[in-house]
């Protein structure tokens, strides 16, 4: 063993067998196995989207039940407990299981295409993020199928509501465990995106040529990486309180419930920007495309995104103005909050500047995008109103706040995501939604949304508290609530039309060719749907609007591509990663352990071994095995050789990357 041994880095190992003796190398391209073992960022993005839309519909049903209960005074559609469960699960579901994963779907599908990469930096980690997200989502929703019920402590889970005294059953444990798994999934995915954007850009794609959506993905990923640890710690402490009898948040043991609020909002406020920055990125792609102009003030849009992300960490206590922090702290957080309006306003003006003098083409994605700009501004205005601490004392925990955050989350995030689905649908599936049905769904959603949430401003200023289960007839809230519920039903119809049309289009919609919107970013240079390897030749980027340049200079690009294709073929063709089941196994283990920790009763008989410990340990063992097999199977792959037309001849020889 004295010889100094080296492994090969660039030398091809042609003697290696096609099949590994020990590790399963699935090659299925269709069917369940292909989805469970996929490491293709596009398939993973699609799965994120499917799961997110499913949970979006679940959250929507919860919202409709809430509105039906509040439609009339002294109503009894839901009991008070059921109502608590509904608003808790509605908030948790929409934020963590609908908007965030829908953004992640676009990060996965679009971002690598925009920077000219063939995949993300760590394809198997990407699969792990997806399946861990699914595991967390299931654990949060397990309560529906258990006698304990789903969590009912509010999506903010304020202490001491979450203590054993007030929530003795497993519902809060499942909420904790589910959120922890979602945190793991989000952080792992974000690490992946950060490395991908910084390190996997095509030649010529400098940072200041990145499409704005990719920039916003980067900022969002940094926000996730830096803010999620706080909720992880808060949840760990809460779990210790509930499982091991500590008193982090128990007043009787010297704990301070206010600590929960601080830890939660140090995470929770950056989370707001985690929800809105991807939306801003999508809008910054759509507006220039349909205005036939480059984005106005690109560097300013990018830097204002960065300053929003940065300032987002310094404003958390504006959620706590009424807790008595003292005048200095209150004034400081009020000022920082007002400061955030500046970069946000800068973005709005840049979007208007993009539209100004443009050759506007009013297609469906553009309608949603314009709706975003307008509705998000209304939400922004009421947001600035909250930043004045004395005014906030009146608005705190009222329907005014409910109106505000639904304007920024539906009118903001969701409108942009719906716009993004319309915009990229032709690229993803090669089909396009008909303009009539697309625009109809937009107008119904737009009307329903405003009829639902605009009256809530007045309800809030008239004193209707948030999270109230019912109200008496003589409080002056009857008309507003009735209108809001009618609006919610209209909004529900709009969303139904939107998705019915999507499903129809997916199956039978009009087929379209490449680059249907005549766009400016690289992803549109691909055929639709994009092939597994994305780019036959890694593109060379010459301008910020990369595809625009390609379309203007076809001869130069063709020459460049031919030269590059030859170099790549000489180097062994296109390297593709093997599919792998082990990330799924690791997530499965986390799921089983999570169920063991959160949903299984403590064994009544004393002793270490029992059902709870047993299931948790089995889950842990599956997880460790998954991770270890994942580590030692190695990141070998195979090579594709493509001819001029992109027809492939597969070379399944294992090769070292």
């Amino acid at each position: 063993m004295d010889a100094i041994l080296k492994s090969e880095l660039q030398v091809k190992d042609t003697a290696a067998p096609a099949k590994s003796a020990v590790f399963w190398r699935p090659t299925a391209q269709t069917g369940l196995v292909s989805w469970l073992t996929t490491v293709d960022h596009k398939k993973i993005g699609f799965l994120y989207g499917v799961f997110a839309l499913f949970f979006f519909l679940v959250g929507g049903v919860e919202a409709l039940l809430i509105r039906l209960q509040l439609m009339l005074p002294n109503s009894s559609v839901l009991t008070a407990e059921q109502y608590n469960t509904m608003f808790t699960m509605h908030g948790t579901t929409m934020i963590f299981l609908a908007i965030m994963p829908l953004s992640a779907a676009f990060f996965n599908f679009i971002m690598p295409l925009q920077i000219g990469a063939r995949d993300v930096a760590f394809p198997r980690l990407n699969a792990f993020s997806l399946w861990t997200f699914v595991a967390g989502a299931i654990i949060i929703n397990l309560g529906w199928f258990m006698p304990d019920g789903a969590p009912n402590v509010g999506w903010t889970g304020y202490a001491p509501l979450t203590s054993k005294t007030y929530a003795p059953d497993h519902s809060v444990d499942m909420w904790i465990m589910g959120l922890q798994l979602l945190g793991v999934a989000s952080i792992a995915a974000s690490l992946n995106f950060i490395v991908t954007i910084i390190n996997m850009r095509a030649p010529g794609m400098t940072m200041m040529r990145l499409p704005v959506f990719t920039w916003m993905t980067l900022f969002t990923a940094f926000l996730i990486v830096l803010s999620f640890p706080f909720i992880t710690v808060a949840l760990v402490e809460l779990m210790m309180d509930r499982h091991f009898g500590t008193s982090f948040f128990e007043v009787s043991g010297g704990g301070m419930p206010i600590l929960w609020q601080h830890l939660f909002w140090v995470f929770g406020h950056p989370e707001v920007y985690i929800l809105i920055l991807p939306a801003m990125g999508i809008i910054s792609e759509i507006l220039p495309t349909f205005s036939r102009k480059p984005l106005f003030g690109y560097p300013i849009v990018v830097f204002s995104g960065a300053s929003i992300g940065f300032l987002g960490f310094s404003v958390w206590s504006h959620h706590m103005f009424t807790t008595g922090m003292g005048t200095v702290a209150t004034a400081a957080f009020a000022l920082a909050t007002m400061a955030i309006a500046v970069p946000t306003g800068v973005k709005i003006f840049n979007w208007i500047g993009t539209l100004w003098g443009g050759h506007l083409s009013m297609r469906t994605p553009m309608m949603f995008a314009l709706g975003f700009v307008w509705m998000f501004m209304i939400g922004g205005f009421s947001g600035v109103m909250h930043s004045a601490a004395p005014a906030d004392a009146q608005q705190q925990d009222s329907y005014f706040v409910v109106a505000h955050f639904h304007y920024v989350l539906i009118g903001g995030s969701l409108f942009a995501l719906l716009a993004g689905i319309h915009y990229w649908f032709p690229l993803m599936f090669g089909r396009k939604v008909s303009e009539f049905w697309g625009k109809l769904s937009f107008w119904v959603i737009f009307a329903g949304f405003n009829i639902t949430f605009f009256p809530m401003h007045f309800l809030g200023l008239n004193g209707m508290p948030r999270r109230t289960f019912t109200y008496d007839t003589n409080l002056g809230w009857n008309a507003g609530n009735f209108i809001a519920t009618i609006g919610a039903l209209i909004l529900g119809v709009g969303i139904f039309i939107y998705f019915a049309v999507m499903v129809y289009t997916f199956l039978k919609g009009e087929k379209v060719g490449k680059d249907v919107w005549d766009a400016r970013t690289l992803e549109w240079s691909l055929p639709n749907p994009p092939p597994e390897y994305n780019y036959r030749v890694i593109p060379t980027v010459h301008a910020r609007d990369a595809l625009w340049y390609i379309k203007q200079n076809p001869a130069e690009i063709a020459k460049e591509d031919a030269a590059k294709a030859k170099i790549e073929a000489d180097h062994g063709g296109i390297h593709m990663p093997h599919q792998s089941i082990y990330p799924f196994v690791a997530s499965l283990g986390m799921f089983v352990a999570g169920v063991g920790i959160s949903a299984i009763d403590h064994d009544p008989t004393p002793g270490f071994w029992g059902k709870k410990i047993g299931i948790t340990l089995i889950g842990g063992a599956i997880m460790c095995l998954g991770i270890y097999w994942w580590a030692i199977e190695g990141n070998e792959g195979y090579h594709l050789h493509l001819d001029e037309d992109g027809k492939e001849s597969k070379d399944k020889k294992a090769d070292h990357p």
């Binding site: 100094i4 492994s7 490395v195 794609m205 710690v233 500590t246 982090f248 010297g254 600590l259 830890l263």
Partner: protein, 280 residues
């Protein structure tokens, strides 16, 4: 196997990435930024509750043993030195030297963990500081315990990397190899645990005035097991088969090293903010 001469790979520039920073290294730096926030929140919790002690809170100075903790801090710092030597060795393609350095790092990490186990048991049994009987105990055990878990994961990672340095080329990875690989990992994990508890047993026996005979009577299986695991590990060490591990894997060792150094730095902060601050 390969035509590379030792030291021909540029370890500071990876031509396949846009920035020249290897993906794994960038990923690790970003993860450590995240972990910084994680420990930041835990340390903040401890410091906040330190400022708001409940009546009858224990006096940390009467509980801590600064000599022991200083010793284990020193050991952990020295483990960082050995980790750095391991990285340097593998960057020069010297697998054997790297293995020695990794083993030493594992050894020092084990001493640190042993000191922490001793400290926890001592505090809980003699000083009556438990997880639940005071806020100081709650935040102390949560914070230092979380750090201890980080060290334990680090030690496990070191062990796995050490075993990986015996990995054969891909064509020879059969089920027999897989079995041996798992046996190798179990042997070293076993050696770490058995040695730690055997030594802790010696300390316990001395402190409680037990005899040599009573020690051997109760710890014989640990000692026998320890030598058995060492024998397994040595037999793997003496194997003379080709391995697929070398200079190209330096980035894997270096990323692990970043994690290990980070956990050390966190301990320096904890040592200051939890222990030393009480002696101001």
């Amino acid at each position: 196997m390969s035509s590379h001469a030792a030291g021909t790979i540029d370890h500071h520039h990876d031509p396949s990435t846009s920035t020249g920073i290897p993906n794994k290294k960038l990923m690790m730096w970003t993860f450590l930024a995240s972990d910084c926030m994680f420990f930041g929140a835990l340390i903040s919790t401890h410091l906040i509750y330190r400022l708001h002690p409940a009546p009858g809170s224990p006096q940390p100075k009467e509980i801590f043993s600064l000599e022991l903790t200083s010793f284990s801090t020193f050991i952990l710092l020295m483990s960082s030195l050995m980790m750095a030597l391991a990285v340097t060795a593998i960057q020069k393609g010297n697998v054997k030297s790297m293995r020695w350095s990794l083993l030493t790092t594992i050894f020092f990490g084990t001493i640190f963990l042993g000191c922490q186990v001793y400290e926890f048991v001592e505090f809980a049994t003699l000083k009556n500081l438990t997880l639940t009987n005071s806020m100081f105990g709650t935040t102390f055990y949560t914070l230092t315990g979380t750090h201890g878990i980080h060290v334990a994961i680090g030690v496990l990672w070191l062990i796995l990397m050490y075993v990986r340095s015996f990995q054969p080329p891909e064509g020879q990875r059969t089920f027999g190899w897989l079995f041996k690989n798992c046996l190798h990992v179990s042997a070293i994990v076993g050696a770490v645990l058995l040695s730690m508890f055997a030594i802790l047993g010696v300390v316990h026996t001395i402190q409680t005035g037990g005899t040599t005979a009573s020690y051997f009577a109760s710890h014989l299986w640990m000692i026998v097991g320890f030598f058995a695991t060492i024998a397994v590990a040595v037999s793997f060490w003496r194997q003379k088969t080709a391995v697929n591990f070398g200079e190209a894997n330096a980035i894997d060792v270096e990323s692990m090293g970043l994690y290990w150094h980070f956990v050390d730095i966190v301990w320096i902060v904890i040592f200051t903010a939890v222990y030393l601050i009480e002696y101001l």
